[in-house]
């Protein structure tokens, strides 16, 4: 005769009861525990004990609050602090870049001066010019210099490169002629063509007949890109120009759209550190195409933001809607570009 041994069901471990009361178990585990609890008095008592422990802990910790009521400050204030911090970071980066640039210029001028003094067989003896003062009218050390020495120094003096003051695009255009005679170092050149626009479609290529674009390549861009002034772009694109408040506009490229379509626009702006940021606004397919053609790996793009669509009359009657996107690209981190994209407004 077989003797059946009935084993008592396993009691619920204490940590499982904690997890059960904290609602950290799956449904099946909860169901299993509840089934056991319905029949096991020991586990019911244990459950009550754990619940009391849990409640006392919560009560004790609730007394450790800095204030009876904690009211968060306005989220807008926090946002402003975030924007301010971003601006300060950009400003610091600009200062760092400028000081590096200035140091490089001083080093270049200084080494040039030294090399010239050493290499020149007719160099003037007994006259030393500190590197840092190489560009200034040369102070003569102690003895009064003869007149021809002073004249020679004046002749050799290299004018100090003056960093170009960044102005708005319109002002820059207007002052271009007047500034040409000054000794200035050009600002970082905007290389829109190499950044986003394939060489075949760049404005320079448009004027040149050296590399005519292949017909197959032209298919997705069968209209010509034009570099236009901000005012001209405003006239052509109307209210469809992307613009990041507070950054200087350094160039606008524009490709006219089809009938009823707004043009595709690339607005290049320069931030305080001198970094070029491009806002690209146009039909989704075209914007994606431009991004794919973007050459360098260090260029990043923000997430696409939807802009007002175009409504185009289709040949068979009716109206077709073309969706459009806005993307901000540049060498900044994606997070920063996303923040700038949120700031970008359609003018």
């Amino acid at each position: 005769m077989t003797e059946w041994i009935t084993r008592p069901a396993r009691h619920i471990p204490e940590d499982e009861l904690h997890a059960y009361l904290d609602q950290a178990l799956s449904r099946s585990q909860c169901a299993e525990i509840e089934t056991h609890l319905s029949t096991c008095r020991a586990c019911q008592a244990q459950r009550a004990s754990v619940a009391a422990l849990r409640d006392r802990t919560t009560a004790l910790l609730s007394g450790l609050s800095p204030r009876p009521v904690i009211v968060p400050p306005s989220y807008l204030t926090l946002r402003e602090r975030h924007s301010h911090r971003l601006a300060v970071a950009l400003w610091r980066a600009r200062i760092k870049r400028s000081s590096l640039w200035a140091a490089a210029v001083v080093a270049a001028v200084g080494s040039g001066w030294v090399a010239r003094s050493v290499m020149d067989p007719h160099r003037l003896p007994l006259v030393t010019v500190p590197l840092a003062q190489a560009s200034a009218p040369a102070p003569i050390a102690s003895a009064p210099a003869p007149r021809d020495v002073a004249a020679e120094l004046e002749r050799q003096a290299i004018p100090v490169p003056i960093p170009e003051r960044r102005t708005s695009f319109a002002v820059r255009q207007a002052g271009m002629g007047a500034r040409s005679s000054q000794a200035v170092v050009p600002a970082p050149r905007l290389q829109l063509a190499s950044l986003v626009i394939p060489a075949a479609y760049s404005p320079s290529a448009e004027k040149s007949s050296i590399n005519p674009p292949a017909a197959a390549n032209l298919r997705p861009f069968n209209r010509i890109w034009r570099a236009v002034s901000w005012e001209e772009a405003l006239q052509i694109a109307g209210s469809g120009l992307p613009y990041i408040e507070g950054l200087t506009v350094v160039g606008v490229l524009l490709q006219p759209g089809g009938p009823g379509e707004r043009p595709t626009v690339i607005v290049a702006q320069q931030d305080q550190s001198g970094e070029i940021i491009q806002s690209i606004e146009g039909p989704i397919a075209k914007v994606s195409e431009l991004l794919q053609r973007q050459g360098t790996a260090e260029m990043h793009a923000s997430e696409a933001a939807r802009t007002p669509p175009d409504y185009v009359e289709s040949p068979g009657g009716g109206v077709r809607r073309t969706l459009r996107n806005l993307i901000v690209t540049g060498r900044l981190p994606v997070d920063s570009l996303n923040a700038l994209a949120r700031m970008a407004a359609i003018r």
Partner: protein
């Protein structure tokens, strides 16, 4: 209202409390909580709630280190817990409240760092998987740690309560 703004409104108080229980300075806790959310604006984390508490824990740790450098007495790092600042008590129950305060902070300081972290994260509203991700524990071990931490907190508190009662009598 974006997700982060929603999280800010629902979790700001929890983050302040969490930080306060680590650094025991109400004003500094609020400053650090705002710093956490400003950083979240810049980073846009995928799991913002867990990220916020992870950053808050790091900031609290840095703050504690800085306080040590300034030779301040921090409750959680000293044998004899003396809170840097306690909430301003009302006139009638200030003594009793201060004693109660000292017992709870003392009990919390009696826990191991891991037990305390798990307990504070749970009290801040984090789930078991979030606590596990932040502390490096297995999810299954969170329940065990939490059970032990609760038990030790209550035991330490009751022991201090008994000692205080004996001293008064």
């Amino acid at each position: 209202m974006d997700d982060l703004e929603r999280l800010y409104k629902t979790h700001y108080a929890a983050v302040v409390r969490f930080l306060y229980r680590k650094i025991w300075d109400a004003d500094r806790a609020e400053d650090l909580a705002q710093e956490v959310f400003i950083r979240a604006m810049a980073h846009r984390p995928e799991k913002p709630r867990a990220w916020i508490f992870a950053v808050a824990a790091n900031l609290a740790r840095d703050e504690a280190r800085a306080a040590i450098r300034r030779k301040k007495h921090l409750t959680l790092l000293k044998d004899d817990p003396i809170p840097l600042s306690t909430p301003e008590p009302s006139a009638e129950d200030s003594v009793e409240r201060e004693e109660r305060w000292a017992r709870v902070t003392g009990a919390l300081a009696a826990l191991t760092e891991r037990d305390r972290d798990v307990l504070l994260l749970w009290d801040a509203g984090l789930s078991y998987p979030e606590i596990a991700a932040q502390t490096g524990l297995a999810v299954g071990a969170v329940g065990t740690t939490l059970a032990r931490a609760r038990k030790r907190l209550i035991e330490a508190h009751d022991r201090m309560d008994y000692q205080a009662g004996a001293a008064h009598s």
